[in-house]
Each structure stands twice: as C-alpha cells, then as structure tokens.
C-alpha cells in the first residue's frame, strides 16, 4: 500500500487562500535582500516633499567571504543619490560629508543609521509619505547591483 504524505486537497484550498491574503499585506516589513553573501536589512526612509531631501537607512551584512564594498546607490526618485555621513567637526558643529565608498568586511555588519552614514536622496522628483515605497539600487564591487524596496516611515520603529 502506498501512503501519501501530501495533505488532503480540502486543506490545501484554505491554506493557499491564507497565504495569498498574507502576501497582499502592504505594511509588511520587506524581506532581507541577499545576494553573494550580502544581506540588506531594515531599510527605511524619511518622508519628504518634492524638491527636498530624504535619507535612507539600512544595515548591510557580508556573511560570507570575501569582503565587499558599497560603491554607490541610484534611484529614479531623486535628482541625485549620494552616500553621506553626518559627523561632528572639530569646531563642535555637526556636518555632513560625501562618502565615496563603504567597505563591508567579511563577517561584519555596517549600519547606515541616523546621525551617521546614510543614503542621501537629493531633490526628490515627488513627495514621499509614510506608507510609500522607494525603489533603490545599491551598487557593490562584488555582488553587483541589488534592488531594494525601501518603506517610507516617520521613524525606524514607530
């Protein structure tokens, strides 16, 4: 006698319905993006109006070997996309500077976070509000180009 491990069809139908509904949730956190050992986690961006600036924050982890390097980012949402870093200058003023590339050592995480490294969206083509998604592409030396969906939120963990 052959015994099947497959679940009965009557159970499959509601299961598929639940899964398909779950997939429609727009406010879900995006799944981590992974390629060639690079993980991209917890992306989020601040709301901003047309013509203004926004910042994208996320965590990059290189789980495998060897190290990789973030070379830049691009998005149609802004006239210019640059990697920036907020820092405290010698005179006590807070400043922001352009960063050409971000090394990601093997086995380590790099946090792009408030008050530090961030991806700067300069002169937005249109306003972005809470609940919107920004399409961003990150450019890595080894992993190549990785697309990321970035949710717009007023704060990281509201």
């Amino acid at each position: 006698m052959i015994r099947s491990n497959r679940p009965p069809r009557l159970l499959l139908i509601p299961l598929m319905a639940i899964l398909s509904f779950a997939g429609c949730q727009s406010d879900e956190e995006p799944s981590p993006v992974e390629s060639d050992g690079i993980h991209i986690e917890n992306p989020w961006a601040r709301p901003a109006s047309e013509g203004r600036m926004s910042a994208i924050y996320l965590t990059l982890t290189q789980y495998g070997e060897p190290a990789d390097t973030l070379l830049g980012a691009s998005s149609d949402i802004a006239h210019l996309v640059e990697i920036h870093e907020s820092y405290e200058a010698d005179d006590g003023l807070m400043g922001m500077r352009h960063v050409e590339l971000v090394p990601i050592p093997a086995g380590e995480s790099i946090h792009l976070e408030q008050g530090g490294l961030h991806i700067m969206l300069i002169q937005l083509q249109h306003a972005v509000s809470s609940g919107d998604q920004i399409e961003l592409t990150l450019h890595f030396a080894r992993a190549g180009d990785l697309p990321v969906q970035v949710p717009v939120k007023t704060e990281e963990n509201p």
Partner: protein, 213 residues
C-alpha cells in the same frame, strides 16, 4: 560623637551649631544647604525678554519673538530643510516630546531655520507636512537674513557652508555644518536649558518641560 545640631528658632533668626569633630559630615551638611538653596528658585541661563525679532511662520503669518510666545514654555530647535539626517532627527524629537506629553502639553514647539535664503514659508510648510507637524502647537519659522542672523547669534547657533554638489541638471546645492541644538525657554522668555538637539533622549526633554506646564 554628638549628632549635628541645627536648632530652628521659632523666631526669625536661625541658629546653626556644629558640635562635631568630623569634618566630612560638616562638608556634607554645607553641601546639602548649597543644593537646597540653589534649588529654591529658577536659576535661568539667559533672558530673551530684551529681544523683539520679527519672523514669519510656515503659514506666512508674522510673529514676534519672544513676545508672541510668552505665557507658555517654548521648545526651540534649529534646522535647515536641506539636511535630512540631523535636522530631521531634531524635528522628530520635538514631535515625539509633544507625543510623550500625551499631546496635551500647553507649550509652543518651534523649529527655526538658519538657512532663510532657501527656507521660505512655503518650503517650511511642505517640510512640516512631511512630519505631520503643519499644525498647532508647532510653528516653523524663517525671517529676513538679518533677523535670523541676529537671533542665531543670541542663541549661539553657528553655521558654515561645508560643501557643494551639483545635480545632473546643473543645479548647485550647498550643505551646511551647523550647531545641533534645542532650547527650553520658560513662560517669561528665559532660557531654562540648552541641549544637544539630535541626541538628547526625548524623556529628558519631557522631564524638564513638564514642571513648566
């Protein structure tokens, strides 16, 4: 060892008698007295009552600082809208402070730009919209370059151009290094506290603001 005796007269004079050999205890008592005396009344860091500076809010309405804000405590942050990181942090901190007060605190929350050439009332209104702050008790203020400079000098808020970049269309954009600051001002336009604007935990703002409400 005899205990410290601080007999309090029922009359106006207060007599202190230190009948003890231990010098450390004596220092402790004096220290407590100093702390007690300094906490008796408000010891303000500055008084802005002498200022009268014309500014414009995000709705295009003229306001006079500090006259129009007397009678309520005021939290003031300093920003420019081309700064999406530190200044957004400062702006969000004031919003969260208001939320922490159960959104009922009777205080003014002001964000004043130190980049008046670019931050017009319309620009400030759209910036306020993106933070859901284009409403009372928040006001985003700009003014003439001369008035803003005078105000920033008094608040010890400094700025300098850090670098410029150019979009593909050839538009030049400059960024500023700037002081990261939030001030707490009391009902009589006196400075209560001067904070780092972006990194100060919101519960500290709340704790200092609540006694003034």
């Amino acid at each position: 060892m005899n205990p410290t005796m601080i007999p309090l007269s029922p009359h106006k004079s207060v007599r202190f008698r230190f009948n003890m050999a231990n010098g450390h205890l004596r220092i402790c008592v004096l220290l407590l007295l100093v702390i007690g005396l300094t906490s008796c009344g408000p010891d303000r860091m500055d008084d802005y009552s002498d200022l009268s500076i014309k500014l414009t809010n995000q709705n295009g309405e003229t306001v006079q600082f500090p006259e129009d804000f007397r009678g309520k405590p005021v939290m003031v942050g300093f920003i420019y809208t081309h700064c999406p990181d530190i200044c957004s942090f400062i702006t969000a901190n004031l919003y969260k402070t208001w939320q922490e007060l159960d959104e009922t605190g009777d205080a003014h929350f002001l964000l004043i730009t130190f980049d008046p050439e670019r931050d017009t009332p319309d620009i400030l209104a759209s910036y306020a919209d993106s933070f859901n702050m284009n409403r009372a008790p928040f006001q985003f203020l700009t003014g003439s370059p001369e008035n803003i400079e005078r105000l920033m000098e008094r608040f010890s808020v400094r700025k300098q151009v850090s670098y410029t970049t150019e979009t593909e269309e050839g538009n030049e954009i400059y960024f500023l290094n700037h002081t990261d600051k939030v001030l707490l001002i009391d009902q009589e336009s006196r400075l209560v506290m001067d904070y780092g604007g972006s990194m100060t935990p919101v519960h500290i703002f709340k704790t200092d603001l609540e006694p003034l409400l």
